[in-house]
Symmetry: C2
Subunit: 160 residues, 2 copies
DNA sequence: CCTGAAAACAGACCCCC
DNA sequence: GGGGGTCTGTTTTCAGG
């Protein structure tokens, strides 16, 4: 299921990331090709899952989601069963926007978007009542300096 | 420039986040309205900046961006000039996908996407040569458990 | 593999309710 | 402010070079 992604594909992906609302014609012009070939490539990239969801970026603050926390989690449990419960809980909660398992001292990091600190506390209480966690540190964002959905496709190497 | 966002607007925003490629008709049907009113609302939300960029979510791993780091930064500098330099550096680097200024012990957190650990080191070296930083901890992601661009609009309160 | 045309389709804007 | 229709441009498909 691995697809070869060449430089033309990367140009198309860059253009789509930037603005997916433009017409095929515009994108074709920007990447220096023409409608049909670009369309064929987009279709292939979609089928391969390299192009995923098409979405719009919304203004979280304007929608009342004014608090953003990064949550550092240490656990003493490392059994498969515990992990399954934990992961399921994270995936089920929409306020968890990112969750990563880490190498090193800290086991997990979450990014959590909520209306306010009270809502974060409710989330936190619910989480620790569902799964045993050894240690939690919450980092409160004071200012979103940067947040981009654009992957750095500038000169990243493609998989061989 | 603050716009009142009512429940119908929220429904539309939820639908657009989920899949921005659907037609106006489909979205209108989903939210229980019709083409024109939905279109008018979308236009207003766009003009108000609540709806931002339209984009596609790409598969980072498939595109050779196999490493993701969360970087915790402490600094001793808190003058405006230093901060300006630092923020400009972060915004200029495409591998920095998120940057937040934090409350508490740790001053900043970054999310950095790169092809591999070597590329991260190159980024790190470049950054510390541009600005003085007191202490840096890099957390390496072993597994992306969850990553969603969808804001939790379920029952978030709107701004009064 | 690209070009160009043809068909189905959706977005933008209208007037009427 | 919502409903429906129309015109224009875009997506998608297909035949041919």
């Amino acid at each position: 299921m691995t697809v070869q992604v060449d430089e033309m594909d990367r140009k198309i992906l860059r253009a789509l990331q930037e603005d997916a609302s433009r017409s095929l014609d515009e994108i074709a012009r920007e990447v220096g090709s023409s409608k049909t070939p670009v369309w064929t490539r987009i279709r292939k990239l979609r089928e391969a899952g390299i192009i995923g969801r098409q979405t719009v970026i919304l203004d979280a603050e304007a929608l009342g989601l004014e608090a953003c926390f990064f949550v550092l989690i240490r656990t003493s449990e490392h059994e498969a069963e515990w992990q399954q419960t934990f992961l399921a809980a994270l995936r089920a909660r929409p306020e968890v926007m990112e969750a990563h398992r880490l190498a090193g001292e800290i086991d997990y990091i979450l990014k959590v978007r909520v209306p306010n600190a009270r809502a974060y506390d409710a989330f936190y209480q619910a989480l620790i009542s569902e799964v045993r966690i050894y240690n939690v540190t919450a980092l409160l964002s004071m200012e979103e300096i940067k947040s981009t959905p654009l992957l750095p496709l500038g000169q990243a190497p493609s998989k061989s």
